[in-house]
């Protein structure tokens, strides 16, 4: 009572308007809240605390330890956890040394592929030089061109092996009349004359 009066007097001196207010809490409690609260909390406390077996175990081994507070006594530097940071080591990429044989195999494969590519490129780019301009050559009048050639030029041309091969390839089988006789005994000059005359005839037929 004395304490209560002291506090009331103190409040009157600081804040008189509050001193006159009824200090009973206006909030309500749920009905029967405290009826079995003690029993409930006992059950809960036993469930959540360490078991009595642990208690008995320590009592048997070292009873003094049970009476000592488990509170940490060491002090921490001020603001330790506020600036706590973990410096993680930088992850270094693992370097695996390649075996020597494997290295040379790779070099060899690379050079082969490069060679193929270069060769293909060379062939592709050079192809145009080997092409035969058929269109342009088809416009040439062979009769006129042949008549402009001298006899010596023709003989020289026909004497070359490649020339004979071309001639053989271009001979139209129809132009060769079997009734003309045995070809083995015909002189080269006569043969040449024969071929020229027949070639001219075939051009005339075509035109």
């Amino acid at each position: 009572m004395n304490q209560q009066n002291t506090i009331l007097e103190e409040l009157k001196s600081i804040a008189p308007s509050i001193a006159s207010i009824n200090n009973k809490m206006p909030q309500q409690l749920p009905d029967g809240y405290f009826d079995s609260f003690a029993q409930k909390i006992l059950v809960l406390a036993k469930q959540q605390s360490y078991t009595e077996e642990d208690d008995n175990e320590l009592n048997e081994i070292a009873p003094l330890l049970n009476r000592i507070s488990r509170k940490q006594l060491q002090s921490l530097p001020q603001g330790y956890f506020e600036s706590f940071n973990v410096d993680l080591p930088k992850q270094q990429s693992i370097v695996v040394k390649m075996p020597l044989i494997r290295k040379w195999m790779i070099y060899a494969s690379a050079s082969i592929v490069a060679g193929i590519l270069v060769t293909a490129g060379f062939l592709y780019t050079d192809k145009s030089n080997l092409s035969f301009d058929y269109e342009q050559n088809s416009k040439i009048n062979i009769t006129t061109a042949m008549s402009n050639l001298s006899e010596d030029e023709l003989v020289n041309y026909l004497n070359s092996t490649s020339s004979l091969n071309i001639i053989h390839a271009t001979i139209d089988a129809d132009l060769i009349d079997e009734s003309d006789g045995d070809f083995e005994n015909i002189e080269d000059d006569e043969m040449l004359q024969y071929l020229i005359e027949n070639n001219l005839k075939s051009n005339k037929k075509a035109s």
Partner: protein, 181 residues
């Protein structure tokens, strides 16, 4: 009739009477601690959780209680720390500032089904929620629990002088709030 605190502690430390002593202790302090907690956190559900946590800590810690302070100041200390931890956790979860928390608690007071804005008792409740947590604790312990400053010093680990100053400021603020409301 409740058993004296010293007797309760002795009986609790004996295995055969531990549970009976604990039950008696809970029955003796349940209402006082409940309302002390509820004044801080306002809502019954939160107060119930904190009260249970408080008594579980009592169960775990009473065996090593050194009796260098009074039992009930030790109980109030546990309950107060549980309240402050709860409020602090809520602050971090919602990342709000103090003004928002004060408004939040005021709104909780007003949300009570029995709330009557015209009654001074309710105005006082709303006004108390405007105070910072520690000032609120000091005011509540002095105004509602009639606790001496010396015992309050043990509960809050603060000097008597600081507590008196804190109570003075709290009372002034509450009075001004009620006058202006």
């Amino acid at each position: 009739m409740f058993i004296e605190d010293q007797e309760l502690v002795v009986k609790f430390k004996s295995a055969s009477t531990k549970e009976a002593a604990y039950t008696s202790l809970v029955k003796k302090y349940q209402e006082k601690l409940y309302w002390h907690i509820r004044r801080m956190v306002v809502e019954h559900e939160d107060a119930n959780d904190i009260l249970q946590n408080t008594f579980i800590k009592v169960w775990n810690g009473l065996g090593s209680f050194r009796e260098d302070s009074q039992l009930y100041t030790w109980l109030y200390r546990i309950a107060t720390n549980e309240c402050l931890t709860f409020i602090d956790q809520n602050k971090r979860k919602s990342a709000v500032n103090f003004d928002d928390i004060a408004e939040d608690f005021s709104n909780k007071v007003k949300a009570d089904t029995n709330f009557d804005a015209n009654r001074l008792e309710w105005k006082l409740q709303v006004a108390i929620q405007q105070l910072p947590e520690k000032q609120r604790v000091v005011f509540n312990l002095r105004y509602y629990d009639q606790m001496p400053y010396e015992e309050m010093s043990t509960v809050l680990n603060t000097s008597v002088g600081a507590l008196k100053a804190s109570y003075h400021h709290a009372a002034k603020k509450i009075e001004e709030f009620i006058k202006n409301s």
